[in-house]
């Protein structure tokens, strides 16, 4: 989903995620109205918002164990693996409040990765990520797509995912 600031990308993503109810029309996945069973729809995707959705007073490991744990049973090894894939294995026992913005974004990405949901809804995922972080993120999205997953990404420019070409949706301001 491409478009300048203020074109409504975030709003549309929130409507799809069911956080915002539309004035008219409906959100359907595979022909079924998502409002029919909200909880089932929520379980089908993982959402990365503008904010990282992490608790500053908990460590990265604790945050992941909690947020992923709400959805599925996750082991310590999986958490460590995910953090390692994003280059921040050392952050496991560090309070999120002490991490940089880029590191926080990577932890949030780890949450998406661990969720196991077939659909990823990502709102400007590359925010705050440096070059290394962006490379990790793209690789992870690529692996998800290779495994048959779908990613709905809102961005200013089409992301470069190796081996995959996005279908673009342009939103005008």
């Amino acid at each position: 989903m491409l478009g300048p600031n203020g074109s409504g990308k975030t709003t549309l993503l929130r409507v799809i995620a069911g956080l915002l109810l539309p004035e008219a029309g409906q959100v359907a996945c595979n022909g079924r109205d998502t409002r029919a069973d909200r909880d089932a729809w929520s379980a089908a995707f993982s959402y990365l918002a503008h904010s990282d959705g992490l608790k500053p007073e908990l460590t990265a490991g604790e945050n992941l164990a909690f947020e992923v744990g709400l959805r599925r049973r996750v082991s310590q090894a999986e958490v460590d693996g995910a953090l390692g894939d994003l280059g921040i294995a050392h952050a496991r026992n560090q309070l999120v409040a002490t991490l940089s913005a880029g590191q926080c974004r990577r932890v949030a990405f780890a949450r998406i990765m661990l969720s196991g949901a077939p659909l990823w809804i990502l709102d400007e995922p590359y925010t705050n990520l440096d070059r290394d972080g962006s490379v990790f993120a793209s690789a992870i999205i690529g692996r998800h797509l290779d495994a048959g997953g779908t990613a709905l990404i809102a961005a200013h420019q089409p992301p470069a995912i190796p081996g995959h070409r996005p279908r673009n949706l342009e939103l005008a301001a």
């Binding site: 956080l19 909880d39 608790k55 908990l58 604790e62 947020e67 744990g69 709400l70 959805r71």
Partner: protein, 227 residues
């Protein structure tokens, strides 16, 4: 990869909130200190005579506990809303009313329970006889529970609003008045030497009603505030 059961999710939420309270225990101690301070205002304002204080002790204890609980309700959803973790809980696919109930219970454990445990000291200081201290604790335990449940609705409705704390009091206090009536009456009966079973049972019934009906209302309010 197995899906988390609702019960496990509720336990996760409960433990996380207690962990957070533990790391912020200064913030959690504030309602307790407030409770003691409000109770102290009355001897200062009226009289140091225990016999006189005993006559209003039930009211003092309950009003102080109500106001202190209001203070504690602020913390219930505010920080989760601010850092986006509330949104993640909304999207977890778990029934929101169960998660809300877990949060409410954690909040009571961190804010209400210390109040209850400390109440005998405050009660004794304002003239409540030793035999009645048990009734004081039961009455306040049930009452703070009711207030946590009803207050959570108000807290969810006023999320993110400026001057939300003032509004919260306005919304929650009228709904807490029935509990106040029966809770204070229970303490009074006990001080007079009579059985407080009637009011306490009614209070327990109100708690059951609150714990049953409040979570869906809290969930609805959270969804409305998160938009």
């Amino acid at each position: 990869m197995s899906r988390t059961t609702t019960l496990s999710a509720a336990l996760l939420v409960y433990r996380r909130d207690l962990l957070l309270a533990q790391r912020h225990w200064g913030q959690v101690a504030q309602p307790l200190v407030f409770f003691v301070m409000v109770a102290t205002l009355f001897p200062l304002a009226l009289s140091p005579e225990l016999s006189e204080l005993r006559r209003i002790a039930s009211g003092v204890l309950w009003v102080a506990a109500l106001l202190a609980s209001l203070l504690g309700l602020e913390l219930l959803f505010r920080s989760d809303h601010a850092d986006g973790t509330l949104e993640q809980m909304l999207l977890s696919g778990q029934p929101l009313s169960v998660l809300a109930l877990a949060k409410g219970f954690a909040h009571w454990t961190a804010c209400g329970l210390p109040l209850v445990l400390f109440s005998p000291f405050v009660a004794g200081a304002i003239g409540v006889p030793l035999d009645s201290l048990g009734t004081v604790m039961v009455s306040l335990a049930l009452g703070t529970g009711i207030l946590s449940a009803i207050g959570a609705i108000g807290s969810a409705l006023t999320l993110g609003l400026r001057r939300g704390s003032l509004l919260l009091g306005l919304l929650v206090l009228p709904l807490a008045m029935p509990a106040l009536i029966f809770g204070a009456r229970a303490i009074d009966l006990s001080i007079q030497g009579d059985s407080a079973r009637g009011p306490l049972l009614l209070l327990a019934a109100m708690l059951v009603l609150a714990v049953t009906l409040a979570p869906p209302a809290i969930a609805a309010a959270l969804r409305i505030s998160a938009e």
